[in-house]
Amino acid sequence: MELLNGFITIFSSATTMLFVVCGAVLGVIVGAVPGLTASAAIAMLVPITYYIDPLSALAFLYVIGKAGRFGGSISAILFNTPGTTAAAATILDGYPMTQKGQAGKALKTASLASAIGDLTGEILLICGALTIAQFTRQLGPPEYFAIYVCAFLIIGSVISNSVIKGIASTLFGAMLAMVGIDPITSEPRFDFGMIELYNGFSLIPLLIGLFVISEVFTQAAHDRSKDEHHETVKANNPSDNQLSMAEAKRCLPHIGKGAGIGSVVGLLPGVGSAVACFVAYGEGRRKAKNGDKWGTGVVEGIAAPEAANNAVSGPSMIPLLALGVPGSTIAAMLMGVFMIHGIQVGPQIFETSGDIVYGLFAAGLIGIVLYFIIGWFGSAYIGRAIEKVPAIYIYPSILTVAFISAYTARSSLFDVGVACVFGIIGYFMRTLNFSTAATVIAFVLAPGAEQALRQSLLLSDDGFLIFVDRPVALIFFAIPVVAIGLRLYARMRRENSNAELLDTA
């Protein structure tokens, strides 16, 4: 019933509907431009949301995130370059299909799989968020602190190839969040006598620096002389541009399995679409009857990863809405938008701002339909149009927009300077394999974690032993320990087996 009200809210407001449509179009385009991710686009557009109503703002950014994940498949299929990391596995079968003159079929498969995967994730979000929120309402500060620690460690340990670098990136973000007044005693911390730092770093310049300006720097460093020229391979016959019913039926089991994998991965903080798409591709190939043909250009090889990477979108919002703990960069940015508009995120959001939450769910569902239509009928045109615009024209313009966006948030030139500094830091982090995403998520999580810890200790007469008395907290403390332990164990086993191989050689 509330969801129906959400649809009525969206359809009755022309402005909100316009933003949903714009989000779908912009998301597909942004996702299709190699190097430009949905996260970067959202980071640039967050300041705009100061000027519009909260539902339109959230719907706009949420739909960009969804459509952007699909958009990445367009350049993966047409140009052998994933528009986003989420589409990295789509290349494996997508580009071979283009080389065979079946680009139209590949793009339609990606559209269908993305939409079904996303729909699965969205249904899980709609059904799951409220259920989990009802449980999390009973949790106190000790459990919340354990959840924060769990999120920190899971994000830190899975987000990078190096566990140490992942956790260091997380701690760096938490350290940045310590700048500004103390949340309990209101004492200034690390402001170094600068009035601008009294309230801490603003999220927007941090996002723009770490995601957008650092990406422009990375693109400046990119050697374009090595870029391939993409010949258009025309379809030999009309059926090469169509997805037949028989092919769609063949894809359905892989789409279902991919959607399931993506939904589970989406629930885990920080893991993200890039992991989901490779897990789904590997699993699909292992189980498929034509597994030996995967990688040569088969529709199932596109369906599995595309369903998985889009299914991540909905469930990744569950920790944010049910706990107030963002598990992905897009969720962290949306949390910023909630805060800008004075909406408290957490289990109580379904009562205090239910109209906005259900409106957001409805916008997500409408967004899925919209980007499916755009993808099915227009992705080939979008892809060709993007290839005609040289990247060297795009990135200087993005740098300027990033500057103005950083200024727009608080009309502060200091924020522009902060964005520039974090642009350079972000470039170093990217090239040295640290994670800017972990830094941003930790920056958003850290104040809540600190408050939860200090409130827990104020509640307790036994100091840190309060956590031992709370079984739910202990479970959340144990999860990352097990996850990191398993990862280190797998690495040790791999190293030992490699060492044995070298010894026997």
Binding site: I164, A168, F190, A221, Y395, T400, F403, Y407, L413, L457
Partner: protein, 174 residues
């Protein structure tokens, strides 16, 4: 291939390890600096439980410990499997540093001359640095400058910061 057991590390691993050593040392230095700065955080004498210094100091210690591990691994020419540094000093100096300097120059110009002039100059320089030449270089910067001006300051109504020396917008507005 990454450093494994007794295997001799390859060039990629050696480069990553060298960068890890430097990054580890930077993390240690940053942590120590912030740890010492944390003693300037005022403490209330009746602080129950933990005070405002506890969290920042804990993070500093953990970050320093990770920095130390990273530096030690780097010194032993070891890196995690798949962890490859793609930082190249010469590329940074030739391509990224000029753009980074430009971004700060743009900020300074913004303060001195307002949006229009600073953006026009910055865009010309940015397009040049990205290798745009010919018609594109002549047309794109003024087009983009005007487009973004109307988008942000016109359509969205963002407050345009006053220029300290001279603002081209004042000239157009009479």
């Amino acid at each position: 291939m990454s450093s494994l057991g007794s295997a001799r590390p390859d060039a990629k691993t050696r480069r990553t390890a060298r960068h890890d050593l430097i990054a580890g040392l930077v993390l240690i230095a940053l942590s120590l600096f912030l740890f010492s700065a944390s003693f300037d955080i005022p403490m209330e004498s009746d602080d129950d439980g933990i005070g405002p210094r506890f969290f920042p100091q804990s993070i500093c210690m953990l970050l320093a410990a990770l920095g130390l591990v990273m530096a030690l691994q780097g010194a032993r020419k070891k890196s995690a499997p798949g962890d490859n540094s793609i930082f190249y000093g010469e590329v940074f100096v030739a391509k990224v540093l000029p753009l980074a300097v430009l971004s700060f120059v743009y900020l300074w110009l913004f303060v001195q001359f307002g949006y229009l002039l600073s953006t026009l100059v910055a865009l010309y320089a940015a397009f040049l640095l990205f290798g745009v030449r010919g018609k594109g270089l002549v047309l794109m910067p003024p087009l983009m400058t005007v487009l973004f001006y109307y988008l942000f300051f016109g359509l969205m109504g963002v407050f345009e910061p006053p220029a300290e020396i001279f603002n081209l917008t004042d000239l157009f507005n009479g």
